[in-house]
Amino acid sequence: MEVNSIENGIVIDHIRAGFGMKVLQYLDVDTGRDTVALIMNAQSSKHGRKDIIKIENLIDVDMTALGLLDCGATVNIIEGGRLTRKVKLELPEKVVDVIKCKNPRCVTSTEPSIAHIFRLVDPSTEEYRCEYCDEIVRV
């Protein structure tokens, strides 16, 4: 299978197999305009199988949110046909307005104009704690 290389844009590599569609949905790219390639279940020497996304002309992406979606993935920034930056995604220490607190007793359920802030508790368990009520969620 062959997918052309891109001149300007991003390549998200090492996405956990089966997660590519979810990542693509989050990125909310305009598939009517942008050139997008989603490769699923590609061979991976590290993980056996992986998904890959290539998007022409899109460079600005929220690495924090992407890190939450799949902290094992890598984002390659391509400019002028060359790899200019490579970012290994990690679980972010703090996420704002990405996870919504589900605790009905939390102040975020009633207070208007308040950001939903979560902080990483334990990377090994992928647990985050609500800044306000301490509710724990696993991403």
Partner: protein, 314 residues
Amino acid sequence: MGSLKGRSLLEPGDFTAEERTMLFDLADRITEEPGRVSAAAASKILASLFFEPSTRTRLSFETAMLRLGGQVVGFSEAASSSAVKGESIADTVRTVGCYSDITVIRHPKEGSCRVAAQNSDVPVVNAGDGGHHHPTQTLTDLLTIRREKGRLDHLKIGLCGDLKFGRTVHSLVKAMSVYEGIEFFLISPEELTVPSYVIRDIERGRGCGYTETRNMGAAIGALDVLYMTRVQRERFFNEEDYIRLKDSYILDAEKMRGAGRDMIVMHPLPRVNEIAAEVDADPRAVYFKQAKNGMYVRMALILALLGLEEEPWK
């Protein structure tokens, strides 16, 4: 150790063990020489924002401020506040901060005090945010243990009653776990055992251990401190469960006969029937002293957050 001036107190972990010691030392000085501080906060105003009813906590804070010579403004239920008009906590606190020097807030929503602190130019003290934190109760409990036992380390502490929903117990365990050699005896019905995160606090503590038991009588003889809690009706979804469990762990004179001569009995109050009235006369029952200690520690806290702790002793 730096001053606590301008800081807020939202949860028990906001102060280090050294900062707590400073507060307790100040509380001791205030207790010994109350006349020295009777005008220490003159010209200062405390805003007492109670969005849900409270008797002892509100009165304790307000009395503390009055005994420091300060003034108190505020409300004692949400119906008396602009919350009924739909005003946010952020706006209420920001506005009240224009009038007062320190704000005390109780609100049923968890984390409400953090919203308040983020929007306040004056120190904010959490007087209870739902079932979440009640840090001045924890300071009260620690001061009481320190006064009655002379130390905060190497103690056997029994926690009895509703250990699942009781926030005072969770906060006390967390706060005591920073001291060396604490052995907890967790005495509760099967349905009301402590959540796993409280156990984790003990396991991370400095040489702390715990024993879980269903039987108060079997544990009482080993204890230095017995901390009783109320089985709260409002924490149950089911009335039958409440009725079945509320009398499970009643402390009476007969059980007290099995306790050591130096053991103390504590309770955050109000009690329902978990401590029989006959125990009140026992010198080991210190729960009313504990309530008084709460006022002294709040006096110390107000002075420290306002940066006035040194003035009375000059």
